[in-house]
Amino acid sequence: MTERQTPLLDELEKGPWPSFVKEIKKSRKNPMAEDLLGILERSYREKIGHWKHGGIVGVMGYGGGVIGRYTDIPEDFPNVAHFHTIRVNQPAGWFYTSDVLRKICDIWERRGSNITNMHGSTGDMVLLGTTTDQLEPIFSELTELGFDLGGSGSDLRTPSCCNGQARCEWACYDTMGACYAITQEYQDELHRPAFPYKYKNKFAGCPNDCVASVARSDLSIIGTWKDSIQIDQAAIKAHHSDINMVDDVTSRCPTGCMKWDGAKLSIDNANCVKCMHCINVLNRALAPGKERGATFLLGAKAPIVGGALLASVMVPFVPADEVVDTIKELNEAIWDDWGENGKNRERVGEYIQRIGMGNFLERIGLAPVPQMVIHPRTNPYIFFEASEEE
């Protein structure tokens, strides 16, 4: 097969940033990659994509994990007539060994396009482009290697987490452990879509939220602490050369709960909202408290249909060793209710808004607390219940 001319794409080989065009060209000996280049050059010329709505394809017994994809011009690009992606559930924290990566590459060289996404934006390792007949063999080789598929469709999506305690001094609970435990616990929910719509879990070890969980997961578990920030007054000096204690630290505290008297830093911990800023800046001197755990937030999503949502507080604090059990309780209570009553393609965040947070809390068995709101209601439209009658 002769290599195609791709004058437009070639422009994207220039410059210091790694080039995806080079990546595809590196895979060029694979005819799928060659046709991908061709179809992409065509899109660049015509300013339009050439993919069709995916049909339902997958591996036996699973309802998710594969995104079916076909080109609308198979006559010109027969090698990408089928070009399905496989979502491979990544190991927690995206840690690998060279060894296991090579084995995955080998499978993909034999059975796919040679091209991957490391990683998809939910967190999966995305194997980019194969044909329907290869799906089952790929699946069997992957499971042989100890890997399994991730989620797609109206299921529990592949959970993901920051690297947490593996490589971060601030992790307030074991994000990777929790992510693994939850992923294993819910293999059925992950592989067999049975929800009204997708449902995501993400795990961040502290309020820096390095997996964007508050914005991108239905249930977001963010590490935090209850007691006082640990201060090593002596170590503050180590920071003195590049940090101005007032301009850079105390004046940036959202609640103004810190004082620097020129020699000593004091924190009114009752008013600390655990934002992490001072700890981030003075990371040799300050550390989260010792009574650690997590805040649970629910309901984030992208805009379709009702507008984007950030997750909102469900449980202000759960001790670290109860995090996994609490996630299970919450997930299951939520799935029971939303799974039963959610409309088709209604994320849980939208569902809550439709039925009312107060009602939702009652149904999932959580008591309302003021931490759940920015402020109490401003409108007087209260749905008083009949049971209130005396």
Binding site: G146, R167, C275, A308
Partner: protein, 357 residues
């Protein structure tokens, strides 16, 4: 189906892939430093040291590249590596003397090291014309053009705070576009083209009608076919109908393009998480290198670099100076499109006389 077909085994346990130093220091790290841009040094309670060298990737990775990374890992980091939540790759090194050579090797192969601390890191992005049927624009190409242009801010040049750029090729927003310092979002601007002849076969008419957030779709018989019509004034080109029904396509070579959003964040540091807000409603698709979009983002980054205080994220900077100053300083035009007119629009109106004049 063979008897021993494995299913529901889940991902491998991460323990298998963690280097010994991490196992030994799991939950016991004390602090970190950044000896140079792109390198993190984590120090354990007992003094153990782990250098992580972070390199850029195009996210799209050929198996050739993954094998290259595997070789580099074998050589410098005992075979251990990881990817980050933003498509960078990190080599986990315990021998300090291997840090510089590892960097040199990566950069020589075209995978520059950087992305830590206050500055730019990799762009979270989506599939675009490489794989998705919904895309109003390409993803990887725009990202490549942008990062080439902004490269110093990834590699060595500092910005006041972290600047997280995200890219999504349609309103489904398969990325953190809705909460990014700077976001690029593919937009359609032409009514769904309806395939009247096949729609009733391909789609359920009632669920197609129900899919529209504004109620713009109505059942209608066209040329004897059971089909739908779209009320022009009520359509805002979200393509939710297309997601539900392939016979209603939004993609259009002339009208599709990009919008730019600013001021979102997800961390709780200092300020609470914030949504991104509209900066530029529309920029045409200009493959292969999208010069107008690139220039627009550079302008925002540079205006921010000039005006923001240390640690201040884009959204925090704008909140401090005020949106009028943002439009003024960037020279971006403020239009009626900037004023929200969806469900909660009224919540974004300025309901106070606190104004700079």
């Amino acid at each position: 189906m063979c008897a021993d077909r494995k299913t529901d085994i889940g991902p491998p346990h991460h323990d298998k892939f963690l280097p010994p130093i991490i196992k030994n220091n799991y939950g016991k790290w004390k602090y970190h430093e950044t000896p140079q841009r792109g390198v993190l040094l984590h120090v354990g309670e007992k003094g153990d040291k782990l250098w992580s060298v972070r390199a850029a990737t195009a996210r799209i990775a050929s198996i050739e590249t993954i094998r290259l990374f595997a070789d580099i890992a074998d050589k410098f980091s005992d075979g251990y590596l990881r990817w980050t939540s933003r498509n960078n790759v990190e080599f986990l090194i315990t021998d300090e003397s291997k840090v510089k050579p590892c960097i040199q090797k990566l950069e020589a192969e075209g995978y520059p090291v950087g992305g830590t601390g206050n500055g730019l890191t990799n762009i979270v992005h989506t599939q675009g014309w490489v794989h998705c049927h919904s895309a109003a624009t390409d993803a990887s190409g725009v990202v490549k053009a942008l990062m080439d242009d902004l490269f110093p801010y990834y590699h060595d040049k500092e910005l006041p705070g972290k600047v997280r750029i995200a890219f999504a090729c349609c309103l489904n927003m398969c990325g953190a576009v809705h909460c990014s310092d700077i976001a690029l979002l593919g937009v359609h601007r032409r009514l769904p083209a309806i395939k009247h002849d096949i729609i009733a076969k391909q789609c359920e008419i009632p669920s197609t009608v129900a899919a529209c957030p504004t109620g713009a779709i109505r059942p209608k018989t066209v040329d004897g076919h059971q089909s739908v019509e779209v009320i022009e004034e009520q359509c805002m080109y979200c393509a939710n109908c297309f997601t539900v029904c392939p016979a209603m396509t939004l993609n259009d070579p002339e009208m599709d393009g990009l919008s730019i959003w600013v001021g979102g964040k997800v961390s709780n540091a200092r300020s609470e998480p914030m949504f991104s807000k509209l900066a530029i409603p529309y920029i045409p698709n200009e493959p292969p290198r999208w010069p107008t979009a690139v220039k627009a983002v550079r302008n925002i980054v540079e205006t921010y670099a000039k005006g923001a205080r240390k640690f201040e994220r884009v959204g925090e900077w704008i909140e401090r100076i005020g949106w009028p100053a943002f439009f003024d300083q960037t020279g971006i035009e403020f239009t009626k499109y900037h004023i929200d007119d969806f469900t909660h629009a009224g919540e974004t109106f300025k309901r106070s006389a606190q104004l700079r004049h």
